[in-house]
């Protein structure tokens, strides 16, 4: 889950309907029981991961020599709009896409995804972690297969914390308390706070015991006390100089700050492990520590993220697409993404493999994922982020109070979710 700053080109997808990266080929689907044709795969993994994914995707061709896998890397920040443009226009959409967990319900609701129940794409569903499988369901049908799961954790620079003589903070209050010592002894700021990305607001919200909405009772909950406190917590961290933040380019700035040692800690997920390890501070891989996201005044929690593989309903080559989705979420591929990228598998059986079990990052993130807070898997789930982004920016720049911000987000939620209280 990377709701990173997209270095989007102008008119992200306006012109995309016209591009040629469509599901070309078609192909007769099962001539003689053998799959053939072209499968276009949109991969949304980041720069540090995409080479690995390209190789894994293309290895499908070894098992099905008549299938041509067209690998296309699409920046995460653009992928949602790009897919919607292409799928809505009926031209240029990929056959299979690596879809963020919150997008599945949205796309399914719009009719863009093929239901996978009873198709070869789904096999041995009992093997999937229940949380990961939860994000693939929409209105009693399955619209995706889980590929990797994740949640946020606290990345920390062991050397800097040791030099400052502080423990890894368990709450944001502890972090604030330790910040001055870290600054004085090491010159580094304690935390990089992603102010540009609403996803990073969730640990603060959960930490105060709040949530975006109560999807079961259809109530907007972000504007209650916990929501206000969460905005205040974010503001206090920045005001007290315990954290630095940005309203733009947060993904790049955070990664750079952590890699260069100008901040001692940052909240991020497994997808950044490879990127962080490329930095000069982490030449010694052991210098990178990962701990649970610090808690707020009420509890501790971080959102469940991850990636699923969805099949486009308009794919001209459904059989091969189903087989490809199944392949990319197979135990074999999941094992390889863990070994090479330290990403977390969604299959229980993969966690029993020694190479996965002994992976340090999996060792940390697995318990965190088991406890991660499930987001509301509703069609509007992804739309709930934009209002937070606007208001979080406003709070951090001092143009709104936490109270005003929480109220404004709540109001816009009631506009998005018409039948909510």
């Amino acid at each position: 889950m990377r709701r990173g700053m997209a270095t989007t080109a102008l008119a992200a997808g306006l012109a995309l309907a016209a591009t040629a990266c469509g599901s070309g080929g078609g192909g007769d689907q099962q001539s003689g029981g053998e799959l053939s044709g072209t499968v276009t795969f949109w991969d949304t993994s980041n720069d540090a991961e995409k080479a690995t994914y390209k190789k894994l995707a293309e290895s499908f061709e070894k098992e099905h020599p008549k299938v041509d896998v067209k690998y296309v890397s699409v920046a995460f920040g653009e992928a949602n709009a790009k897919f919607k443009n292409a799928a809505g226009a009926g031209a240029g959409a990929p056959d299979v896409m690596r879809t963020e967990v919150a997008w599945v319900a949205d796309f399914a609701n719009l009719g863009y995804l093929a239901p996978l129940d009873g198709t070869p794409a789904l096999d041995d569903t009992g093997d999937y972690l229940p949380q990961a499988l939860g994000s693939t369901k929409f209105k009693d049908k399955t619209y995706a297969v889980p590929q990797v799961t994740d949640t946020l954790g606290l990345f920390y620079n062991k050397r800097l914390l040791k030099q400052a003589g502080v423990e890894v903070p368990k709450t944001f209050a502890e972090l604030t308390a330790a910040a001055k010592q870290i600054k004085d002894k090491t010159g580094a700021t304690a935390l990089y706070l992603r102010g540009d990305d609403p996803y990073w607001f969730l640990p603060y919200l959960y930490g105060e015991g709040g949530d975006l909405v109560d999807a079961r009772d259809k109530v907007v909950t972000i504007d209650d006390d916990a929501g206000v406190k969460a905005f205040k917590a974010v503001k206090d961290l920045v005001d007290s100089k315990a954290a630095v933040t940005d309203a733009t380019d947060g993904q790049e700035n955070q990664l750079k700050a952590l890699k260069d040692g100008s901040v001692a800690m940052a909240v991020s997920g497994p997808w950044d492990i490879e990127g962080v390890r490329a930095g000069k501070e982490f030449k010694d891989k052991k210098n990178l520590g990962v701990a649970p996201v610090p808690g707020g005044s009420a509890s501790q929690g971080s959102p469940q993220g991850g990636w699923n593989l969805s099949v486009y309903a308009g794919s001209k080559n459904l059989q091969a697409s189903y087989a490809f989705a199944r392949y990319m979420s197979s135990a074999k591929i999941q094992q390889q993404t863990t070994e090479q990228l330290s990403l977390l598998p969604t299959r229980k059986s993969v966690y029993t493999l020694p190479s996965v079990k002994n992976n340090e990052m999996v060792g940390f993130f697995k318990p965190a994922v088991d406890k991660a807070v499930q987001r509301p898997w509703i069609a509007e789930g992804n739309a709930l982020f934009e209002p937070i982004k606007v208001q979080m920016n406003k709070v951090l720049t001092g143009s709104s109070t936490p109270e005003q911000a929480a109220k404004a987000v709540g109001d816009s939620y009631r506009k998005i979710l018409k039948d909510y209280k």
Partner: protein, 321 residues
């Protein structure tokens, strides 16, 4: 030929049309493809947009066939609901206020700088061609490339601008992270992008002013400021009124600078009307086609209004345009 003339007079209105068609049929056939194409690529979307703005259409309720999934059209005609909703809320007025400030500031500063530079370049000076080329360069670079470059420069933590300031002992400026700075930053970029156009247009205008006027004024003892006020400015009026109107319309709708630089942020501090309309139809989910169309219609109306009022005021000043 008195007979034919009388005949014409008798069948005056339809006859004229018929005659026009008769004598100019080839012109009409030549124009027809253009009319057709314009009708298809401008007329149809415009009418369709107008229609959508009167409905509650969004991404989830328009008709589509995607492979095995058929989504029927379930949107309804809602009349002026979208418009009352928009005009009754404070989002539109807030964004309009900033859009006006942004447009006036950008056009004003761009015009002033363009005029100053054009005057400088209108003299004979060594290396004039080089300066002209250098000053037109921003125009030659695709806008999004320029904007991304600026974004790198503006980066608060790692950008070149703050590195330079740090060298001078000045604290980092939150270029895009503070509402006021962000507003100044987007205006600066737009000015940078807009100056070459002003420069070229005004330089052309300056060169069409006869040199004798200046000579005569000098003979009469007019100083530089007086010459500028009484010869240059009136001489440029035709050109400047056109470029100001064009530049106002472009700036009002300058999507790429705002969207690529700040995405309307921090918060919604730099969001102008068009970026908000974009947000409605491309960022929010499900995409709000009808709301976005209504915003589009309102923007079109505003711009038409500006153009009409501007033309009127020019005509009052005796300008034929």
């Amino acid at each position: 030929m008195p007979r034919t003339r009388r005949k014409e007079a008798a069948a005056a209105p339809p006859g004229r049309v018929r005659r026009a068609l008769g004598t100019h049929w080839y012109a009409w056939t030549m124009v027809a493809p253009v009319v057709l194409v314009i009708g298809v690529i401008i007329g149809y979307p415009l009418v369709r947009g107008l229609y959508l703005s009167l409905t509650d259409a969004n991404e989830a309720n328009v008709e589509r066939n995607i492979g095995m999934n058929h989504i029927p059209a379930t949107y309804e005609f809602t009349g002026l609901h979208n418009y009352t909703e928009i005009l009754g809320g404070d989002v539109f007025w807030g964004r309009l206020g900033w859009t006006v400030v942004w447009t006036v500031a950008c056009v004003g500063v761009t015009f002033a700088i363009g005029l100053a530079l054009a005057n400088l370049l209108n003299r004979t000076l060594r290396g004039r061609t080089f300066y002209r080329l250098a000053l037109i360069l921003p125009w030659a670079i695709p806008a999004f490339v320029s904007v991304f470059t600026w974004r790198l420069l503006y980066n608060e933590k790692n950008g070149l601008l703050n590195k330079l300031l740090a060298g001078g002992g000045i604290d980092a400026v939150p270029w895009l992270n503070d509402p006021t700075w962000a507003k100044l930053s987007v205006i600066a970029v737009n000015v940078w992008l807009g100056v070459p156009f002003m420069l070229v247009a005004l330089l052309g205008g300056l060169q069409s002013i006869p040199g004798e006027l200046y000579e005569a004024a000098e003979m009469d003892g007019a100083n530089a400021w007086q010459r500028f006020r009484n010869i240059t400015l009136p001489g440029l009026r035709g050109v400047s009124s056109t470029v100001i109107l064009l530049s106002t319309i472009w700036t009002f709708n300058m999507f790429p600078v705002i969207y690529l630089l700040t995405r309307g942020g921090p918060g919604d501090a730099t969001e102008i009307l068009v970026t908000y309309a974009y947000r409605l139809s491309f960022v929010d989910s499900p995409r709000d086609f009808s709301g976005s169309a209504a915003w589009g219609v309102l923007i079109l109306l505003l711009l038409s209004l500006i153009a009409v009022v501007y033309r009127r005021s020019l005509r009052k000043q005796g300008e034929v345009w």
